[in-house]
Amino acid sequence: MQENRNGMAQAYWRANLKAITILLIIWALVSYGGAIILAVPLYNLRVGQIPMSFWFAQQGSMFTFVILIFVYSWWMNRIDRQFDVHEE
């Protein structure tokens, strides 16, 4: 029983780390990728009337950040339920 609980706790932690990793990869892609590392190539593409890298730098990355946290919250609540560790 104890063994089983430990196994469950570890599986829960692994699922949690996976969610965090995926979301942080997107976090890095839009900000450090879209607005900094790829700033020069993306300058030649447009969003509306402005360069795409400029849009990522001053609009798009921030929109994405907000969405990421809400997705994280929803995703974690689902994992909590799956592993039966959610709060009453």
């Binding site: 979301l23 450090y32 009337q49 890298s53 609009q59 950040f65 907000v66 919250s73 974690m76």
Partner: protein
């Protein structure tokens, strides 16, 4: 009615409202004083966090700063929002599960060491103090500019208001007042930004007007024609390397700022801490995604209205004359041709625009009703007061809870702890007020300090405490010290002209990274040193390893050994 009368009325009404809210939420017990009884709904905590976070400087100066930095202004936009993703995913839910009162609480308990607790308390006090001085100053400036009260009087009025709801209501009073203050500041910012977006593009949504109108591209062309740096092209003001490091330092620093972290202790559950960070960032992003629009529109509008006009024409504009009197707008017909012209060359430039007037002058420039000007003044005050209150609480709880109760006098009664808490917050207000009236010359430099130090010390220590079960006392303490000392030393050397008064900076940069970004290197050193030292020394005791297991899971109480 005149602008001044409107300002007086609106500031008066909002202040009375804050006092009422603060009075209604006064508290009697320590849990209420430090963490609002853990009864704050997630969405309200989000709004309070947003008001806590957005300082007088972000309200008044950020759009102006961006309008001068163009593309590279993104370091502040992404840095000060992206940190919330780290906070939400890596820290907030676990700290809420841990469920104590302060940041040093967690660090001291997790690393079973009062040395770690003291180091964290000192870092908290230093970070918060450097930050709060600037807030009181902003309060003084808004008062003096809009109400013609002198700065000292303005600071004293601001101190009295904060003292009232912070001393009486602690975290609970502060939280609900901040919710009210968020409403005031966001209304002021949005009315202004929507109005200028409508005027220039006929599109009422600033974020859409920014992307789908050609104003940004036209401003870029104007800047090229005037010989200024391009607005929408990357890395004109900072190198790509510095944009990367400054953004990361501001993100790590944001996630490590104690006054923001403690807000997540106030919600009822772990799941509330997660979603509450989402609400906080949504409320922040409403302002932060409007700011770049305001920056472009206001700058375009100012240049278009002033550049190439004759002196007589400019003297006929009401607001131009008024802002010229404040010294924030300067006209000087240097070549004597009767016209005012902007130029990249300082010697030839005839119009100087201070970045602080981008937000403050917009209601008048866009010909909005006088009450909007009053609302903007009230918004600036709300932003400064709410941030000051949050910082004061973080600072005083580090002294009264961590140093007094946890280290000096563990047997203190509830009444004693409340008395010390209230006394400390009152003292903190006096200290902040003093710095507001007599700002140390390096106020502008200390922001780099606050973020750099938070990034290099508190953030890695908390993160490792949660995600690395094997991390022990020895590793954490050496890591924090190495991160702190390295970052502090680098900032002092790079900014030595301002901080030490040397004629030249003692160090140009650290491998090309400037003072604002060097905290990232401090954080990396902290991680490496902590890892190496912890693996060479004994693992943490079993009860601590169990504690780490327990804070990783939302359900269940912490076991009593961990409560020790």
């Amino acid at each position: 009615m005149s602008t001044e009368t409107w300002t007086l009325i609106i500031v008066g009404i909002t202040f009375a409202f804050y006092l009422y809210v603060g009075y209604m939420n006064r508290v009697r017990e320590t849990a209420g004083f430090y963490v609002a009884g853990r009864g704050v709904p997630a969405i309200a905590n989000g709004a309070a966090t947003a008001a806590d976070w957005m300082s007088g400087a972000s309200f008044v100066s950020m759009a102006g700063l961006i309008s001068f930095l163009g593309y590279d202004g993104a370091v502040y936009l992404m840095g000060w929002t992206g940190g919330y993703v780290l906070l939400a995913l890596l820290l907030a839910p676990y700290l809420r599960k841990y469920g104590k009162y302060t940041v040093p609480d967690f660090i001291g308990d997790r690393y079973y060491s009062n040395t770690a607790r003291s180091v964290a308390a000192i870092a908290t006090i230093f970070i918060s103090l450097t930050y709060v001085a600037g807030q009181m100053r902003a309060v003084g400036i808004v008062f003096s500019r809009f109400l013609q009260v002198n700065i000292v009087m303005g600071v004293i009025i601001g101190m009295a208001i904060v003292a009232f709801f912070a001393v009486l209501g602690g975290m609970k009073g502060i939280t609900w007042t901040q919710v009210a203050q968020y409403s005031v500041l966001i209304a002021a910012y949005l009315i202004t930004t929507v109005a200028i977006a409508m005027k220039l593009t006929n599109n009422p949504v600033p974020q859409l007007a920014f992307t789908f109108s050609d104003i940004a591209v036209r401003l870029n062309q104007i800047q090229i024609d005037l010989g200024l740096k391009e607005y929408i092209r990357p890395f004109q003001n900072f190198s790509g390397l510095n944009v990367f490091f400054i953004t990361l330092a501001l993100m790590l620093g944001t996630a490590g700022l104690p006054h923001v972290i403690i807000r997540f202790y106030t919600v009822p559950k772990v799941s509330d801490a997660r979603i509450s960070a989402g609400w906080a960032l949504l409320f922040i992003a409403i302002l932060y995604t409007s700011a770049p629009a305001l920056a472009v529109f206001a700058k375009y509008n100012l240049i278009n209205t002033l550049h190439g006009k004759s002196i007589q024409e400019v003297q006929a504009i009401d607001w131009a004359v008024k802002w010229e009197q404040t010294g924030l707008l300067k006209f000087e017909d240097k070549n004597g041709d009767g016209k005012l012209e902007m130029a990249a060359d300082k010697e030839a430039n005839e119009i100087t625009i201070d970045r602080d007037i981008i937000v403050l002058s917009t209601p008048e420039v866009a010909k909005l009703a006088p009450w909007v000007v009053g609302l903007v003044a009230a918004g600036g005050l709300a932003a400064a007061l709410s941030t000051a209150a949050g910082l004061l609480l973080a600072m005083s709880s580090a002294v009264s809870h961590d140093v007094y109760y946890r280290i000096l006098k563990p047997g203190a009664t509830e009444a004693e702890r409340m008395r010390v808490g209230r006394t400390m917050i009152f003292l903190a207000i006096l200290v902040a007020g003093y710095f507001g009236v007599r700002p140390p010359g390096f106020v502008g430099e200390v922001v780099a300090f606050a973020f750099g130090l938070a990034a290099a010390s508190l953030f890695p220590a908390i993160l490792l405490g949660i995600f690395d079960k094997r991390m022990n006392r020895e590793g954490a303490i050496t890591g924090i010290l190495v991160g702190l000392i390295f970052t502090m030393l680098m900032i002092i050397l790079i900014r030595s002209q301002k901080l030490l008064g040397t004629p030249e900076p003692l160090l140009e940069s650290f491998l090309g990274i400037n003072a604002q970004g060097v905290g990232v290197v401090g954080a990396i050193l902290n991680f490496i040193v902590a890892y190496v030292v912890s693996r060479a020394t004994p693992p943490p005791p079993e009860r601590i390893q169990n504690l780490v297991e327990e804070i990783r899971v939302p359900r269940g109480a912490l076991s009593p050994v961990a409560e020790h």
